[in-house]
């Protein structure tokens, strides 16, 4: 494996980790405010469908992005209505959203576009395409830095850069703003927040809206940036990997970035490692590498590497008085 191969793997890592970063950050807002969100998968899937549909009809990637975000927010509000207003079980509500997204995207896609749940192939004008950063071609011949800049940093689409910006932004919101302080507080002790005269319900709704926006970015990335159209079940469990990444990152934004890059790298490597024999171990089963994110998360949850402490009030509906 030479340097060019490494750059290729790293570029694949970045591409594969972007939806994970968006989705895990989406889950971070929800879960730090005390709302478990199993429905990330469904939000991502439905947003992907909306983005692709609107981009198909209007021919505009930006309107597609808007539709994706709107879908994510609406599904988040549904989750909020069930788990905040009606004080229902948050896990069940999330599972329901996953099923609704899975069924409705295929049903609507089939009825509207008649391609068995796919949306038509999008032209590049209706997608987020690669952006070549300045001087990429000029720097390319320089050894080491050249390929790194032109092959990895340049030539990604705008959502990739936004994903990497979303991490420090989320950190700033969470740790440097009043809203962030309150979100963290309401996830640990909603009673205290309520006593301070702040509405627990409204705060959690706002956190869920943030969650929906980011999930919308994730879905949009899948359908109109990474690929050129919606394919049925195209989220393919990424929402659950993002959930695992969120747990693995111990609900902290910068850890989320590192974990998603790790999981993205495992994904990229699993394709590459097919059939490669490691000395002294034999052939590595691809399935083992694919399952590694889940295995690592379980080991972490078991408390064998560090300790993952979820927000204290997570999963418990807040009852003001009884």
């Amino acid at each position: 494996m030479d340097f060019a191969d490494l750059i290729q793997i790293l570029a694949a890592t970045v591409r594969l980790s972007v939806p994970l970063i968006f989705t895990a950050l989406a889950g971070l807002y929800a879960e730090r405010s005390g709302i478990f969100d199993i429905g990330l998968e469904g939000k991502m899937l439905f947003s992907a469908f909306s983005a692709a549909s609107v981009a198909t009809v209007t021919g505009s990637a930006w309107l597609g992005l808007f539709a994706g975000i709107l879908t994510g927010v609406l599904l988040s509000l549904l989750h909020g209505f069930a788990s905040i207003t009606q004080r229902g079980n948050q896990i069940i509500s999330g599972v329901a959203i996953n099923f609704i997204a899975s069924g409705l995207t295929i049903l609507l896609g089939n009825a509207w576009f008649g391609q068995g749940g796919r949306t038509p192939q999008l032209p590049n004008t209706a997608r987020f395409t690669e952006i070549t950063l300045p001087f990429a071609a000029d720097i390319a011949p320089i050894p080491f830095i050249g390929p790194l800049y032109s092959g990895l940093i340049s030539g990604q689409n705008i959502l990739v850069y936004l994903a990497f910006l979303a991490v420090p932004f989320t950190w700033w919101v969470l740790y440097r703003t009043r809203f962030g302080l309150r979100v963290r507080a309401v996830g640990e002790n909603p009673g205290a927040v309520d006593t301070a005269g702040i509405s627990v319900a409204w705060l959690r709704y706002r956190a869920l809206i943030c969650c929906g926006i980011l999930a919308g970015f994730a879905g949009t990335y899948l359908s109109i940036a990474q690929s050129a159209g919606f394919i049925r079940e195209m989220s393919a469990g990424k929402g659950y990997i993002a959930l695992a990444a969120l747990v693995f990152a111990k609900w902290k934004p910068l850890n989320v970035l590192l974990t998603c890059l790790l999981f993205g790298f495992l994904d990229a490597a699993s394709i590459r490692l097919q059939g490669i024999i490691i000395p002294g171990f034999g052939e590595v089963p691809v399935q083992l590498i694919q399952a590694l994110p889940y295995i690592l998360t379980v080991i972490l949850l078991a408390g064998f590497i560090g300790k993952a402490i979820p927000p204290k009030a997570g999963g418990v509906p807040y009852v003001k008085e009884r």
């Binding site: 478990f36 199993i38 069930a82 788990s83 207003t85 009606q86 004080r87 229902g88 079980n89 948050q90 896990i91 069940i92 509500s93 599972v95 329901a96 959203i97 996953n98 099923f99 609704i100 997204a101 899975s102 069924g103 409705l104 295929i106 049903l107 609507l108 089939n110 009825a111 509207w112 068995g116 749940g117 049925r232 469990g237 659950y240 959930l243 695992a244 747990v247 089963p285 399935q287 083992l288 694919q290 399952a291 889940y294 295995i295 998360t297 379980v298 949850l301 078991a302 408390g303 979820p310």
Partner: protein, 376 residues
Amino acid sequence: MSVPLGTLPRWVNFGLLPLLNVAVAFAISGLVVLFIGENPIEAVKYLVAGALGDGEGIAFTLYYATNFIFTGLAVAVAFHGGLFNIGGEGQVYLGGLGVAFAALALDRYMPWYITAVLATAAAFAFGAAWAFIPAWLQAKRGSHIVITTIMFNFIAAALMVYLLVNVIKQPGNMSPQTRLFEEGGQLPKLGWLMQVFGLDIGAAPFNVSFLIALVAAFAVWLLIWRTRFGFEIRTMGTNATAAVYAGIPYVKTVVVTMLISGGLSGMMALNPVMGDAGKLQIDFPAGAGFVGIAVALMGRSHPVGIVIASILFGVLYQGGAALAFDMPNISREVIILIQGLVILFAGALEHMFRPALIVLFAPKPKSVAASAAGAA
């Protein structure tokens, strides 16, 4: 938000309220069908005709229902203990491995009923084993069981693909599956039972595991409401702190509840593996583990409710195929939407209509006066 106080009569609480929730789920599905420009009443007609129109349809419906009874019971047992076993899919998958081992080992030497007993035991053991680690981690180390069981679904899928492709694949066959079980490893069809009602089973794979499912449903009823351990499960599900205070061992109860739940999931594998395909294939659970969640919620975690809900979902699964054939504009996935809406309204939003029903049905004047007097 003030919730009116009062207790609902039993028939409202266990009859009308769940019925109302499910009705709303179906009504919204109907609106979606209307939205894509089809007639929902027509759709229901095709659906019911496909599922219940002839003997073969009914037999297919019951075949699907068999799967859902097992997974629904599995989810329900965990619910009673206050645990959410979302890992049915993985447990079914592993259960299939147990069934395949038993059938491959015995099918050439034993009659089907001996193989079936051992395969049932193996399916239960493999499913339970797959639930053990999440259960133990929940009980001992406080890892959230929802997350761990989800993770175990994916680990199970990877493991089974690995085993089927690299280890137990039939040599010389391209597709990753075991060899076909011989007669001693296949469950007989229930054609005779259909004939009692004057119906023809046709090509439907409706088999003996339906009867095993009904026995399992009865056993779960006995366990939950007629044994000491069942009482302990329910106590823990209602209030874990009080249960521990009352001397109920937390770790043991969590682990054993999850073992039973995982085992019931694992037993589902009997139906598709031994009763239908006669071999172990990739992806045979096909989402049945998740349907169990909808079924358990709709059946309010009671075995009778679960059997009824399973048959309803069997109708959806069988009728959905016929519907997609007759009305190509409505794809088969409409049943996944219905499933999601049932989970939403019968599960997450189950109390949405309660305040209104309490206003309508609760016998309030007397009870309010009595409690006020008691407080004074």
